[in-house]
Each structure stands twice: as C-alpha cells, then as structure tokens.
C-alpha cells in the first residue's frame, strides 16, 4: 500500500488587510496533508470556515468524504482540532504572533479520491465584517462600504509602520555585518601573522634543542 504523505506547504502571507471575501478552494488527495499558513499579528481576532465542496448538487455528500483539521500556532500550541468532519468553523483570539498553520488531512481511500475543500480564513480587519450586511437601503450600503475603506486605510497605515520598522532592522543588520566583516578581516591578518610567528618560534627552539641550528 503506498502511503505517501507529503505536506504541501502553502504559506499565506496576508497583511493586516483583507477587505474582500477570500476563500480558498483546493483539492485534497486522500492520504495527503495540505497545510495553509497565515501570518497573524498578536491580539487579533481570527475566524475560519471550512467545508467540503459538493460536486453533485442536490445529493448529500458521501460519508467517506471526511477531513481532519488542526490549527496550530508558530510555537506548536494547538488552537483547534476536529477529526473526520465534513464542515466546521473555528474562531479564536491570536495571542501569539507568527505563522499559524491550518493542516487538512484526508484519510486514505481506495481508489484514491480528490476532495475539493473550501476554506475561508480571515483575521484582523476582515474578521470583523463577517456577517453579510443586508442592503437595507443604498445609504446604509454606502456607509458600510466607506467604513470598510476607512478600515482598509488604517491597516495600510499600520502596514507602512511595520515595513518601516523592518527596513530599520535590516539596516542595523547590514551595518553590523559591514563592521564585523572589516574587523574580522583585520583580525584574520593578525591571526595569520601570529600563527606564522608561533610556528617559526616553536621550530627554532625545537631545532636549537636538537642542536641542529
């Protein structure tokens, strides 16, 4: 029985911003694991919905189509786990910042089948507007749109701060590398000379002891 598990790592790098609905649909082969990771900032809300896409409309999903999901943080703490379900959801406050991984796994079947999974994962700004706002009237809808735009702008602004901070860190790193390279090269010259000097001194005293010089 061939049991090849390869985890395809899909890293979702989502900035703070995610205004528009984004659900991912991917195919999960039975016996394989697919992982999606998202970079979540600390103390932000994150919600996720997942379900198996039904290829035959109108008919219920076959019982054998089941998936297992595990959501873990960058440090390995498990935040959500569900075994052999066909759909579900999770929501939690991300205390730790970093890459959160959501790994899907489908049990091996014979013949191997491909399950189409729809996964909607939002965090930060987008997790707020989860509920579909019914367009009561056009002014409300417009107000809603404009609020979303205002949130977008705020998160763009925060992202700029983040990028600026990263650039500063990188500049520090480069300066350190530069100075270390200079010092280490000068030091290598000294090391070379001192090693050569020690060699000469040691051999000279050795030969003098042997009365060869």
């Amino acid at each position: 029985m061939k049991l090849q598990r390869f985890a395809l790592r899909i890293t979702l790098i989502i900035g703070l911003l995610s205004t528009i609905a984004q659900s991912i649909r991917f195919e999960l082969e039975s016996g394989h694991t697919k992982c999606i990771a998202e970079d979540i900032k600390s103390n932000s809300m994150t919600v996720g919905h997942y379900s198996i896409d039904n290829p035959n409309e109108g008919q219920p999903l076959p019982e054998s189509h089941r998936i297992t999901l595990r959501v873990t943080s960058a440090y390995g703490n498990s935040y959500h786990s569900s075994e052999n379900v066909q759909s579900g959801q999770f929501a939690f406050q991300a205390v730790e910042a970093g890459d959160y991984m959501a790994c899907f796994f489908a049990i091996d079947h014979q013949p191997p089948l491909k399950i189409s999974v729809e996964f909607d994962w939002r965090s930060g700004v987008a997790a707020k507007d989860w509920s579909n706002v019914a367009k009561k009237d056009s002014v409300d809808a417009m107000e809603y749109e404009l609020k979303k735009l205002a949130d977008t702008i705020t998160s763009i602004h925060e992202e700029m701060f983040y990028l600026r901070e990263r650039e500063r860190e990188m500049q520090e790193l480069n300066k350190v590398t530069n100075s270390r390279m200079a010092w280490l090269s000068v030091l290598s010259l000294f090391v070379c000379l001192s090693v050569a000097g020690m060699q000469i001194w040691h051999l000279k005293s050795f030969f003098e002891k042997k009365k060869l010089i």
Binding site: L8, R9, T19, R25, L163, E167, L173, L184
Partner: protein, 212 residues
Amino acid sequence: METTMKAYAILGLLVLSNFAGDVSALSVTVNDVECVYEYVLYEGDTVSGNFVVVDHDIFWSSDHPGIDFIVSSPGGNVVQTMKGTSGEKFEFKAPQSGMYKFCFHNPYSTPETVSFYIHVGHIPNEHDLAKDEHLDPVNVKIAELREALESVTAEQKYLKARDARHRHTNESTHKRVIFYTIAEYILLAVASGLQVVYIRRLFSKSVAYNRV
C-alpha cells in the same frame, strides 16, 4: 459567494464579494509547475498582481535563475508571459470573462517558494448603472477608490515579500561572514599545527636520525 475554481496541487483562489475578486498573498512551493485558478466575472476587468520568488538557501550561485510565469485565458490563449524572473508585477485587462490560469514553471529541480498576490478589480460602468437601479453613480466613485486602495495594498504586499527575501539574504550573509571567518581561523591554526607536528616528526630520533 460564487467561487468556481479548481486548484491543482495548490491553491485556488478566490473571490468575491461585491465587485472584485481577490486573493491574499500566498506562497506556493513550485516543484515543476504549479497553477492557480482565478475566476474573472466581467470582461474588461483589470487583473493585477505580483509575485516574488522567496529564495531558499542557494549555496554557490548568486541567485536562482528565475521561474517562468504564464497567464492563460479561458479560451486557451496566453495572455501574459514572463520568463526567467525572480519577481515581477503584472497587470492586464481581461479579454473575456471566465477562469484564468496563472502558472509558475520551475525549470530547475530545486523547489522554489513563490509568494504571489492576484487581484481582479471591477469598476461598474454606465452599462451596469443602467441595468441595476440600486447602483448610484457614487458607487462608481467608491469602486474606483477601492481599486486605488487595492493597488496600494498590492504594492505593500509586493514590498513585504521583497523585504522578506532581502532580509533572508542579509541574514544569510551575516551568518556566512561570521561562520566562515571563524572556521578559517581554526583551519589556519590546525593546518599550521599539523605542519609543526609533521616537521617535528621528521626530525625526531625514532624515525631515523637525520634521514631527511
């Protein structure tokens, strides 16, 4: 929510809420060819995006030679091609609506991780306004504003991905400088020690007196 995508080994992205389809920056490991599908609702929509190859540790060569990026329309025509690149921005007007395929081809055997972002933007025009009485001309302006903000966001994601790659290279440089220099010192000391030991042995009585 209408999403029709078939993802192959990776990702399918997605979509929609009101006017635009979007996918947040994702990264995918390209072994040979990886395709991502995105549904474009309206003909004439602007599809924009960017992708950056996040380098793994390359030992000898200065940079990965690059991957190929090919966009195909639902009709099978190639809309855009970029060869041998390690990160580009792209933008095109969709000639027809339907499922577009965005493929990354890796000509070399080392798997590369590609971080990409694709955005489908739609701005309602007068034709849509006439059809739907709920649409105000203000909505057109709001859509334009949203698209402009999306382009800023896209640029930020591109910068973030490039910054990540740059940082990776810098950290690797830093580590290499320290590690290889210290290793060089140790190797130098060991080599000279071995030299001394060898010479001593040549002259030692047990080998044969003055046979050298």
